[in-house]
């Protein structure tokens, strides 16, 4: 005949087993996520290609929403992707004689 003491003992052993299974499960999930991240990184580095990004402007020219994979590392260049252009102090009127002339490209 099973006593309440027996019940308590069985319950404790069951809880302990559940806890062990939970721990194993947690580590399995962590390991799987880490493995997926490593594999993704390796693939992305070893097999580079064209990236598809949404363009910000409405071309109306039939251009697909793709852009060359690389961004130019230019000293001036243009802001990439859909980023707003960085603000710069706008030109101000001046009475000084010009140092240079901005206009159409003549000879």
């Amino acid at each position: 005949m099973t006593t309440p003491w027996h019940y308590a003992q069985i319950q404790a052993r069951r809880d302990e087993t559940f806890e062990r299974v939970r721990r194993v499960f947690r580590w399995t999930v962590v390991a799987a996520l880490a493995g997926a991240a490593v594999i993704t990184g390796v693939v992305a580095r070893e097999i580079p290609g064209r990236s598809t990004v949404a363009t910000t402007s409405n071309s109306g020219s039939g251009a697909p929403a793709t852009t060359p994979a690389s961004s130019p590392a230019t000293s001036g260049g243009v802001a990439g992707g859909g980023a707003p252009p960085p603000q710069v102090t706008p030109p101000a009127p001046t009475q000084s004689p010009p140092t240079a002339v901005s206009g159409g490209t003549g000879f």
Binding site: G62, A63, A69, P91, T94, S96, P98, V101, G104
Partner: protein, 332 residues
Amino acid sequence: MGGGPLVKTEERAAGVTHMRALGTKVTLAVDHDGDLRVAEVALRHELAAVDHACSRFRSDSEIQNLSAMGGRPVRVSELLYEAVSVACLVAERTGGAVDPTVGRAVAALGYDRDFAEVAEIGEPLPIQPVPAPGWWLIELDERTRSIAVPPGVSLDLGASAKALVADRAACRIASITKSGALVCVGGDVAVSGPPRDHGWPVGIAVDSSGPFEGGPVVSVTAGGLASSSTAVRTWHRGTRRLHHIVDPTTGDCASDHWRLVSVAVVSCVEANAFSTAAIVWGESAPDRLATIGLPARLVRHDGVVSTVARWPSEPSAEMGSASVQRAGGRWR
């Protein structure tokens, strides 16, 4: 190219010199005239490198070799890779209004050699305009620094290479001299380094290569200021008057709606991109520029001036016509 005399500006002992390169006029200004010699050496180096990499009129240029490879990837110099990447980014940012694959279209219009050698008057064009194939056909591989251009596609970096060299040179000179520098290549102005007290005064004119004969003068403290015009670099074929700004969607000259568009923004490349795009956009350009929030000045062929965003408004517009001010909008 030939160096010019040093000119002292009235405000401060800046060094200024002029030279010719890339088929146009180049101006260099530095904060201290003692830095001018070293700055000029750096500028000439950049100009020569861009000419060798990007000229579509030199048989030995890298870009000519690229177009002749029949679509095979070619490993290119860092400079050409940067120039083509920037050109593609410009095309993307302007929604294809400024496209580096217009090479054949420009040549078909008669601009197939250095502009000084293009006949001013000629027979009517024998063929219909050729639309640009599209910048998205260019394959860039950053890992191998190679570019593949499909057969039959000819690149023309004229819309961005001059601005790029202005940005690069101004940045390099400021870095070497640790002081402010201005570089102007064919009317595309880049400013770099510590800002001057009142900025660099830059005149706005239809033709940047001649002497400044009056017009608005604005001070620029940083970034770029570029202008595009349909009134210069023009030629005639039959009864048609042609100019050098091509609409990629048609392959024909862009609309004549604007005579001159000037844009000021964070870099000369970007300023040039949007001043050229504004010519292509035609009548809708002020609204588009205002939406982006770019300070700009647009002059119609009848002389009416529109200013956009924070470009200083003009009390009396050029040639006595009315002036229109549009408020800047938010970038969307």
